[in-house]
């Protein structure tokens, strides 16, 4: 390494040299104060959206799936688009908390808790769709391998069944991971609070945490193990979700590139959603020094990288379609880009590939307003990616006689809005109830928290690798 220390020196992860007490105060403050007017407005909007979704769901349950725009041949549409979209959003949290943890990326501490919470809420939101998308949701139990008198077993060759396992495992592990990470913070809150009720609740939830050395060493070990378990799940869940499509025979779905492409897309969309919300949250809760511009810049770099991976996948799909010589495949991709749903395709490409290229510029990466616009576009683009994959592949598949257009109904749109409502309602409740940044971890990465070894600028041997 011939790089000098000034280049490798990391920016401080917490700005402004606050004391530990300051950290406690800032982070725990939202949970101790009455909700602000802004919170109520936000909660009002999101819970109304949730209720709208609930109403649309009630209509669907009462009348049938026909309330949606799904048809023959487009058997899946908003239902599965929303499912894949939310599952994708749910990827950033575990990636940040587990993979970045294993890679010792300390900058993750500022955003990990929040991203994990998002993961859980996104997976909860996503998990609703596979159940309600069935024609007879009251029989959804058939999807579980439960022994029964009929001796009928689930079909293990169906990717939809793998979904059931993958998503439920992912949710369980993410939830445990998140819940465990909360223990030291809950203990802090337990120690701070003067309310008896709160004290009881926090005491129960913090599982008798005493901040002892033994506590900490067990905690760190368990955290590491859970991070280890979660890491493959980040890759597996969206891989399996992509199998829903890749295992089929439908041109546009039947592609080997899908697993990595979906994982990259999931991380992309997850980071997009995390950024979107963080930008607002850090402003609202005065946490700009904890969730710094440096965090956002790093996330923007990841967005740029994953966005290009997604872009590569788009290009590769076209290349393979051409290279394979498969007429069906070729048609599907030409139809995607130039057919009746071309508008959706170009929204997808521009939001996911073209606009994120602006992140090459440091000015853009560190500009909050531009970042906000771009990450919202990423969210839009990734929703449209799923629309493009699902609807444009189905609407014109093998037999031209069965081709048809798909148009969503108001109920479809209501359910999409409702899914956002559910996600944001849960998130808003989370913001007022639990510390949205890990107090203990933040304290651990503050300047002076750890014994530091100051790197001495020196010439290392020329073939040295770290």
């Amino acid at each position: 390494m011939s790089l000098d220390s000034t280049y490798t020196r990391e920016l401080p992860l917490v700005e402004g040299k606050p004391t530990f007490k300051d950290i406690d105060n800032v982070i725990i403050l939202p949970t101790e104060t009455k909700p602000t007017k802004g919170w109520w407005i936000a909660f009002g909007i999101s819970s109304s959206a949730l209720m709208l979704g609930g109403f649309c769901l009630a209509l669907t349950f009462y009348y049938g799936i026909g309330m949606w725009g799904n048809n023959q041949p487009v058997g899946w549409a908003f239902d599965i688009i929303n499912f894949v979209f939310w599952i994708g959003i749910g990827h950033a949290g575990t990636l940040i908390s587990a993979i970045l943890y294993l890679f010792r990326q300390k900058w993750r501490t500022g955003i990990a808790r929040f991203a994990e919470a998002m993961t859980i809420f996104a997976v909860m939101t996503a998990g609703i769709f596979p159940i309600i998308h069935t024609g007879r949701p009251w029989l959804a139990g058939y999807l579980l391998p439960l022994p029964n008198q009929n001796g009928v077993w689930v079909n293990f060759s169906s990717p939809l069944l793998w979904d059931v396992f993958a998503v439920s495992t992912y949710f369980t592990i993410s939830f445990l991971f998140w819940g465990m990470g909360l223990i030291p913070d809950l203990a802090t809150m337990r120690d701070r609070t003067t309310s008896k009720i709160k004290k009881t609740i926090y005491s129960v939830l913090s599982l008798g945490w005493t901040n002892s050395n033994r506590n900490w060493s067990n905690y760190e070990r368990a955290y590491l193990i859970l991070a280890g378990i979660s890491t493959p799940l980040v890759l597996s869940v969206h891989t399996i979700v992509s199998f829903d499509f890749a295992v089929s025979v439908i041109p546009g779905w039947h592609t080997t590139i899908f697993p990595p492409y979906f994982v990259a897309g999931a991380i992309f969309s997850g980071f997009g959603m995390v950024s979107t919300i963080l930008i607002l949250v850090r402003k609202v809760f005065n946490m700009e020094h904890i969730i710094t511009i440096g965090h956002l810049e790093k996330m923007n770099k990841i967005l740029l990288a994953t966005g290009m991976m997604v872009g590569y996948a788009y290009a590769m799909e076209f290349f393979i379609a051409w290279y394979s010589g498969n007429t069906f495949e070729q048609f599907v991709f030409i139809n995607r880009a130039f057919g009746p749903y071309a508008w959706a395709y170009w929204i997808m490409v521009s939001c996911n590939v073209i606009f994120p290229q602006l992140f090459w510029s440091k000015k853009v990466r560190t500009s909050i307003p531009i970042t906000l616009i771009l990450v919202i576009l990423v969210n839009v683009g990734m929703w449209f990616e799923r629309f493009v994959i699902i609807v444009t592949s189905l609407h014109r598949d093998f037999l031209p006689s069965s081709w048809a257009m798909y148009t969503p109904t108001l109920v479809d749109i209501g359910l999409l809005i409702g899914s956002f409502g559910m996600f944001f309602t849960l998130l808003l409740l989370f913001l007022k109830v639990l510390p949205l940044v890990s107090i203990s971890e933040i304290k651990g990465v503050m300047d002076g928290a750890q014994p530091t070894i100051h790197p001495h600028p020196h010439k290392s041997n020329s073939n040295g690798h770290h």
Binding site: G64, H133, L161, T327, F338, F398, L399
Partner: protein
């Protein structure tokens, strides 16, 4: 004491052991033997045992205790219960009240109506086995073709109609109207009681009893007779000899002022009158179409909407079988509209309909004057008519393909005496005369059957007769009008002014199955039996008669129309009995048809034997029928061509400058009678695939010129009237042609058919200058309105480079030419083989799936695309067999139609000059079914005999199977369609009788699809087990196969090497759709061969 008790116990145990060991007979079970010892036990137990006591009271010998101990039950326990004395919540009181309320509920809430005698099936009627269907031969009265049918009934309910194989015309096949007719039988909106409308202007009448209706009407009729006023009976075609006798002899005798009028919305009247002028016989002859090597159809839809289409398509397709040894025929069509026939043609000349006459004259001129074929060249009258028609000029003027016309002329010349020219019924008489001459010139009259003739029982009323009727109505000369199962208000040309004239008549009686436009203007509406509840006989040809018999007793308080008339003839309501027409019919047959069969003593026994035989067969043919019925007609048999018919004829039909409007028969709902039949309304039109509407089909050129798009509304004005109608841009329509189907736009109809489509009957004029169904003075103007037409198939732009011929590029449709096939039978398979056999072996990629070898039966289907004409009758049959719901227009628009089999129609060529290919598409029952491995709950699985099955109960409705189906043949119940459609009309009680009990009725949230009629396969399997034999593939006929008019569908066991299916499966034309995705479908298609002059088909070069 213990010892004794033990002894008894042992004895009891001993007995029970022995009982269980079936040694009962050896054991003395007499109770007396046990009693003394039992008594001993009692007496012993009274002794006190100080070592064994239950309580202190016992120990100290409390007298109360000793007394109580003698009683088994507590005091009062054996008293009779008194509900009042019991506590409020006692068990006894609860049970007493429960049973009382159950009894009240059972007796008070039942909806019992006395329906007469119920006979439970424990007293089994002869020939009925519970659960097994019974079949009856009868006759369909859906139109006036009177095809023979076999009605399948289960436990007395008719559930399916198929053709009667013994019927000489339909030969076991039947059209979609007959298939769907069971729905009309169970239509909940059928009239259930006679209705009297006191005030004709008010809509609401009141139900009356039959006797009152009879009384009142008989007096009305008698008054009419006594006051010398006419009794007008207005009917549609009467083709029943017995009804004819009833009306023309008996009714006229009883009511001498009565007069019978009959009409049809669409008829062959022009064709027949032209034939009469040319040959003297009243009706067009029976043609041996199967002998025609070349057929030229001029705006004629003989394969689609003509009355005889069942017979025509059968005969036509006999010459479209690549494997039965006969040469292919060649079909030329010249048409302005796009008909099923035109779309099946080898060469289709697109020509304005009003130019067809000129075209025929040009051809005649060519043959008669130039080629000097036949002797008509020397007939001055004829050649004078022909001399001005120049083919060359005509070709260039109308911009038609000279090459094709030359082919046509060559073919007709070459096949003199074995070709046939047919013209559509909407063409005027003059065109038909020209066509008759053309057939005469070419010697094609050889194909006319000389023995068998079409007969008319009562000729249709002429225009002047109906005009007289209307003027009589207006002038008050008519005392009563009887609409005998007819709807003249809707059907008759509006310029007759029939509806207006009817208002003057105080007594209008409609005899009808359900409310219609005419019954809405009547004082008395009398409900009649459907064809499933009626007796009847029919004769359309002189060589046979067919019988109709009731297969279910009337569902409602209805009578057969003949019964009503007979009661009136007898002049007393009490003369009615349910057998009145049955007896009349039998008497008539005894007197006429089966006369000679009886012995000299006119023995009834012999007659009954013959009668039952006739009923069993459904048809009677032979000498007796010929002598009975044909006699009158035969005398007028053809005497040779009368050339004066041509020389006297005014051939003045010239293409006009305005649009030409053609009014067609509907491809689905007949003349409107079946408008309330949802199955028919939802049956796609063969070419446009549009459902639930009629429309004005216009050409692409016209649409461009007038800036019209599909769904725009236009106003059409002709001499007949004005109509606002939505437009559909139909590829292949000639420029300037507008084609509309009749029969739609019913205003007084049930909930299903009311206001579906527009009433184009309004455009018919009695004074039409050309023909009632053709107007070349149509003016159209665009309106700002639009109206959405829905179809079951997307209309994508098939001329875009990306989409052009996509069905060929994807090898979904594989075609060749007949000549190519003759030269090189393996052309289809060789087309794909780029490598030698050895190379292919090397290249062969193994499958990662282990192929299950079906060693036993393996079901499969072959569909011969050469024979399939795309008529949709298979879909209609499938609907009925498999309880397929109607989804309604809105759901078809949302692409949710439920048909298990559909006809895919693909266009190739250009929108102006398209070619069509038809392909029935149904579940392919793939060996590697992609639907099966993706179903998470294993609701769709494969059976050992190769069927892709659906377990509806297991299906949760993920729709993954449907997404993954390359053929998109799976159908999802997005709603409970029966509930959703038209105020849940399909859930009405009567419709539940219609369901085929062998097929599950599916509700919402369940995926469904073609099962290869698994219920029929199971029947065969059961028979095989009963008869201790193997399953025989050919014993199973699927509903679509049975219905296919052209026998294009073969079904059976693919492992049966003797079967025709096996041979076709391995034939040179066999291919499977989407072969390359290796799902291994079990429906094999036989490639279509177009009988054109090109050796190789151009589209296949790619």
């Amino acid at each position: 004491m213990d010892k004794k008790i033990n002894q008894i116990n042992n004895k009891v145990i001993d007995i029970s052991d022995k009982i269980s060991d079936n040694y009962t007979e050896k054991i003395d079970l007499k109770v007396e033997n046990l009693i003394p010892e039992t008594n001993a036990v009692n007496s012993i137990s009274e002794e006190k045992d100080s070592n064994y006591w239950r309580s202190f009271r016992e120990l100290y010998n409390d007298p109360d205790f000793i007394r109580e101990k003698k009683n088994e039950f507590m005091p009062g326990a054996l008293d009779k219960p008194d509900a009042n004395s019991l506590s409020l919540f006692s068990r006894r009181k609860f049970l007493a009240l429960l049973s009382a309320s159950a009894a009240v509920a059972a007796s008070g809430c039942s909806n019992f109506r006395d329906k007469g005698e119920f006979i439970s099936y424990n007293k089994k009627p002869e020939s009925v086995t519970v659960g097994n269907p019974t079949y009856f031969a009868s006759t369909c009265t859906g139109c006036n073709s009177a095809c023979g049918i076999i009605i399948k009934t289960i436990e007395g309910r008719p559930i399916k109609v198929d053709g009667n194989p013994d019927h000489p015309v339909s030969k076991g096949k039947i059209c979609s109207i007959a298939q769907a007719s069971v729905m009309s039988l169970y239509d909940p909106e059928r009239l259930k009681n006679p209705i009297e409308v006191a005030d004709k202007n008010s809509v609401n009448g009141k139900d009356i009893i039959w006797g009152d209706a009879d009384d009142k009407i008989i007096s009305i009729l008698k008054n009419a007779v006594s006051s010398g006023k006419e009794i007008a009976i207005v009917s549609q075609t009467i083709n029943s000899p017995s009804l004819k006798k009833l009306l023309t002899e008996d009714f006229t005798k009883a009511y001498p002022t009565s007069k019978v009028y009959s009409y049809e919305l669409i008829s062959d009247s022009n064709k027949n009158s032209a034939y009469e002028k040319c040959y003297g016989a009243k009706t067009f002859p029976v043609v041996h179409l199967e002998k025609a090597n070349v057929i030229l159809a001029l705006e004629s839809d003989f394969l689609g909407t003509d009355e005889n289409k069942v017979e025509n398509s059968r005969l036509y397709s006999e010459r479209r079988d690549a494997f039965n040894g006969s040469e292919f025929n060649r079909l030329y069509t010249v048409e302005g509209n796009t008909s099923v026939t035109g779309m099946n043609a080898d060469y289709r000349i697109i020509l304005r309909t009003d130019a067809i006459e000129e075209f025929v004259m040009c051809l005649l001129n060519e043959f008669v004057s130039k080629e000097r074929i036949s002797g008509f060249g020397s007939d001055a009258g004829v050649s004078a008519k022909l001399q001005n028609y120049k083919l060359e000029e005509f070709i260039s003027k109308n911009n038609i393909s000279k090459e094709v016309v030359e082919y046509l002329i060559g073919d007709l010349k070459k096949n003199q005496g074995s070709s046939f020219v047919t013209a559509g019924s909407m063409l005027p008489e003059s065109t038909h005369i020209a066509v008759n001459l053309l057939n005469e010139v070419l010697g094609n009259t050889k194909l006319y059957d000389k023995e068998i003739l079409n007969v008319e029982q009562i000729p249709l009323s002429t225009k002047s007769e109906i005009e007289t009727l209307v003027s009589n109505l207006k002038s008050g000369k008519v005392g009563a009008v009887i609409h005998l199962d007819s709807n003249p208000v809707f059907h008759l040309a509006s310029d007759y002014g029939y509806a207006d004239a009817l208002k003057n008549i105080p007594n209008v009686i409609s005899i009808t199955e359900s409310q219609n436009e005419s019954s809405a203007m009547s004082n008395y509406v009398l409900p009649i039996n459907s064809m499933f509840e009626s007796w009847g006989d029919f004769q359309n040809r002189n060589n046979f008669m067919s019988l109709q018999q009731p297969v279910i007793s009337p569902l409602y308080n209805t009578r057969q129309k003949e019964e009503i008339l007979l009661t009136w003839i007898k002049g007393n309501k009490s003369e009615f009995n349910i057998d009145i027409y049955h007896k009349y019919l039998m008497d008539n047959w005894k007197a006429t048809v089966l006369k000679s069969s009886g012995d000299e003593n006119n023995n009834d026994g012999q007659f009954m034997k013959e009668w039952y035989a006739a009923l069993n067969d459904g048809v009677v043919s032979g000498e007796t029928v010929l002598t009975v019925s044909g006699a009158a007609v035969l005398t007028a048999a053809s005497t040779g061509f009368k050339s004066e018919a041509v020389s006297n004829c005014n051939f003045n039909l010239k293409p006009g400058n305005d649009f030409i409007l053609i009014l067609n028969r509907s491809t689905s709902i007949g003349d409107g009678r079946y408008a309330n039949n949802g199955w028919l309304q939802e049956l796609p039109k063969p070419i446009s695939r549009i459902v639930w509407d009629n429309f004005a089909a216009i050409s692409v050129q016209t649409s461009k010129a007038l800036n019209l798009k599909s769904d725009d509304k236009i106003n059409i004005t002709t001499q007949g009237g004005k109509l606002e109608v939505p437009v559909f841009v139909q590829p292949g329509v000639a420029e300037g042609v507008i084609a509309i189907e009749l029969g739609y736009g019913r205003s007084a109809c049930g909930i299903v058919g009311k206001d579906v489509g527009v009433n184009a009957n309004k455009l018919i004029s009695k004074n039409a200058t050309i023909s009632q169904w053709m107007y070349n003075d149509a003016k159209i103007e665009k309106t700002s309105d639009t109206y959405e037409l829905v179809s079951t198939q997307e209309h994508y732009a098939f001329d875009e480079p990306l989409l052009k011929d996509i069905q060929y590029k994807r090898e979904i449709i594989q075609e060749g030419t007949y000549l190519q096939y003759k030269e090189h039978p393996h052309f289809l398979h060789d087309r794909h083989t780029k490598y030698s056999e050895e190379e292919t072996k090397k290249l062969k990629v193994g499958s990662i799936n282990e192929q299950y070898v079906h060693t036993g039966t393996k079901w499969g289907m072959v569909i011969d695309l050469n024979k399939c004409i795309g008529c949709n009758d298979c879909a209609a049959a499938c609907n009925v067999e498999n309880n397929i719901p109607i989804v309604g227009k809105d759901q078809v628009k949302a692409n949710r139609e439920m048909h298990w089999i559909r006809i895919d129609r693909y266009y190739s060529g250009t929108p102006e000059v398209p070619k069509a290919s038809f392909q029935p598409m149904l579940c392919q029952h793939c060996d590697f079914a992609p639907c099966e491995n993706v179903c998470p709950v294993a609701a769709t699985t494969h059976s050992a005999d190769g069927i892709n099955g659906m377990a509806y109960n297991r299906c949760v409705g993920t729709r993954y199977c449907s997404n993954n189906c390359p053929y998109k043949v799976r159908r999802f119940n997005y709603f409970n369609f029966r509930d959703r459609f038209r105020d849940s009309v399909q859930q009405e009680e009567s419709y539940s009788l219609m369901a085929n009990p062998e097929v599950t009725v599916r509700s919402r949230g369940v995926m469904e699809k073609c099962t290869f009629c698994i219920q029929r396969i199971m029947d065969e399997r059961q028979m095989a087990i009963q008869e201790n034999r193997n399953v025989i593939g050919t014993n199973v006929k699927t509903a679509c196969q049975e219905a296919c008019n052209t026998s294009a569908i073969y079904f059976g066991d693919q492992n049966d090497k003797e079967s025709e299916l096996y041979k076709l499966n391995h034939s040179t034309l066999a291919y499977s759709v989407l072969e390359e995705i290796k799902v291994k479908p079990n429906v094999i298609y036989l490639a279509k061969l177009r009988n054109v002059f090109e050796i190789e088909k151009e589209e296949t070069h790619h």
